[in-house]
């Protein structure tokens, strides 16, 4: 199994990360937002010299380095002569450093990288590859690897058709935990891309999309189950698709990342599944989802036709197993879903 693991972005974090696990095949981090941003929040903005030092350190440890430049919107700057030259210059510098792979979302960058550089070209989840047709398109542009849109993580017919349609490598993001069919997905990633990219940066009041994302789950906890994460124990069900898995979590602590690496490397986790889910970390002290009680659910999802209002499996499962953290006279306790004021 090849595990791609998030890295917070500074050398100290990389040293901690790589000293904590022997199961890491590659680490990934954002580059400098001065050239191409990324579609997610970052804790760092490493300069080229810092990337070079960290890449050398990772290579010394036998670990590959991937840079994430997966902005989903650059406002057209990439198509201007100045923008194109700047981006090409940055690619050239990263290539010179010895970066193993670059993850991008814009088809233009896939083609630029494939044509002129030695680095592997990885198509981001933010290219939303969810069909064999789209996969073929990116492969023809030069993709070395496609990270499949997690929205189809539980649609095995789609996954198998993508596998059959292309010969490039495939990668699955296991713990993003975004809402299934999230209505905010495009707007949110576009916002992040501007906030974490070359200016002008929006001076926002609040992240509306994130607040809505959390409140939707608090009001309707079945969304926590429907979200297309992959349990560590279920990786074996995906082996006929790929043996390459990506763990999300660039803004988490190293300790959190290592806990997730350990869970997915060992294909086992005892405890709260929320501990492993990246995008909803702010809810991990609100909900308890006993991972062991999800055993076997994959069999239902394998034959799921995604007509939730007729099926109701995830809703029933949520009501059965999810607990809510609360406080009583003795301190922290857990109460069943429904007795804590939720609106399901």
């Amino acid at each position: 199994m090849k595990l791609y693991v998030p890295h917070v972005g500074h050398l100290e974090g990389l040293e901690d990360l790589l000293s904590g696990s022997d199961d890491i095949y590659a680490v990934y981090m954002a580059g400098s937002p001065d050239y191409i941003g990324t579609g997610r929040t970052n804790l760092s903005a490493p300069k080229l010299e810092e990337i070079a030092i960290q890449t050398e350190y990772a290579h010394d440890k036998g670990v590959k380095m991937e840079i994430i430049l997966n902005s989903s919107c650059m406002g057209g700057q990439q198509l201007t002569p100045e923008g194109y030259r700047t981006i090409d210059w940055y690619f050239d510098k990263l290539n010179g450093i010895g970066i193993d792979s670059i993850t991008v979302a814009d088809p233009l960058f896939v083609e630029m990288l494939a044509k002129d550089y030695d680095m592997d070209v990885v198509v981001s989840v933010l290219s939303f590859v969810d069909s064999p047709q789209k996969a073929e398109f990116y492969e023809q542009l030069g993709a070395t690897t496609i990270v499949i849109d997690p929205a189809v993580n539980r649609q095995f017919d789609k996954l198998e058709s993508i596998r059959d349609a292309v010969s490039c490598d495939l990668k699955l993001l296991v713990n993003e935990a975004c809402l299934y069919q999230c209505p905010f997905r495009y707007a949110h990633f576009n916002f992040f891309s501007h906030a974490n990219g070359p200016g002008p940066k929006p001076n926002v009041l609040d992240d509306y999309y994130y607040f809505k994302c959390l409140s939707l789950r608090i009001n309707d906890p079945q969304q926590l189950i429907k979200s297309p994460w992959i349990r560590p124990e279920d990786l074996k069900e995906y082996r006929h698709i790929t043996d390459t898995f990506k763990i999300g979590g660039r803004t988490q602590f190293v300790n959190w990342i290592l806990n997730a690496v350990d869970a997915y490397a060992n294909e086992s986790y005892e405890g709260n599944l929320m501990d492993l889910l990246d995008s909803i970390k702010d809810l991990k002290d609100h909900f308890f989802i006993p991972n062991s009680e999800l055993s076997g659910a994959i069999e239902q999802w394998k034959r799921c036709d995604k007509v939730c209002h007729k099926c109701g499996y995830c809703k029933r499962l949520a009501e059965k197993i999810i607990r809510v953290y609360s406080q009583d006279e003795d301190g922290r306790c857990m109460v069943p879903l429904g007795s804590s004021g939720d609106r399901t």
């Binding site: 917070v8 972005g9 500074h10 100290e12 974090g13 901690d16 904590g20 937002p33 929040t41 970052n42 804790l43 760092s44 903005a45 602590f253 190293v254 300790n255 959190w256 290592l258 002290d285 609100h286 953290y325 922290r332």
Partner: protein, 128 residues
């Protein structure tokens, strides 16, 4: 005095000390007390005008002032840190956090001042 009266007094006193120390118009725009579901509690002071360079030069003094502020609010000063705006030298907040056992492990793992690129630790008392 009430909790908010104590906090109002503490905020203003710390702001004055920082301005006198650094000679620049540092603003402590908001002091918040927090209690998290995990069991952590403490205060966050949102700052404007404070830079990492200021901290690195005057760390000893700033740590002393902040420890006094925290102690005056009956908060254990065992974990004090600042949070940076990612990719910049701007300090977004100064924080005192009484860690729960789970969150303690997130910080106890590393040995340096920067467990994450956006965090600079002023004080961390290891537990037995």
């Amino acid at each position: 005095m009430t909790i908010t009266q104590d906090m109002l007094k503490a905020r203003g006193a710390l702001e004055n000390k920082l301005r006198e120390l650094l000679g620049i118009p540092v603003f402590l725009i908001e002091m918040d007390a927090f209690a998290l579901p995990c069991g952590c509690g403490g205060i966050t002071i949102n700052t404007r005008g404070l830079q990492l360079d200021d901290l690195e030069v005057f760390e000893e003094h700033i740590l002393k002032y902040f420890t006094e502020t925290v102690t005056s609010l009956e908060i254990d000063p065992s974990f004090l840190f600042v949070r940076l705006i990612p990719g910049t030298s701007e300090i977004a907040s100064i924080n005192a956090r009484m860690l729960c056992s789970n969150c303690y492990m997130d910080f106890a793992r590393g040995s340096g001042k920067r467990p994450r690129p956006d965090i600079y630790i002023l004080r961390f008392d290891s537990r037995e």
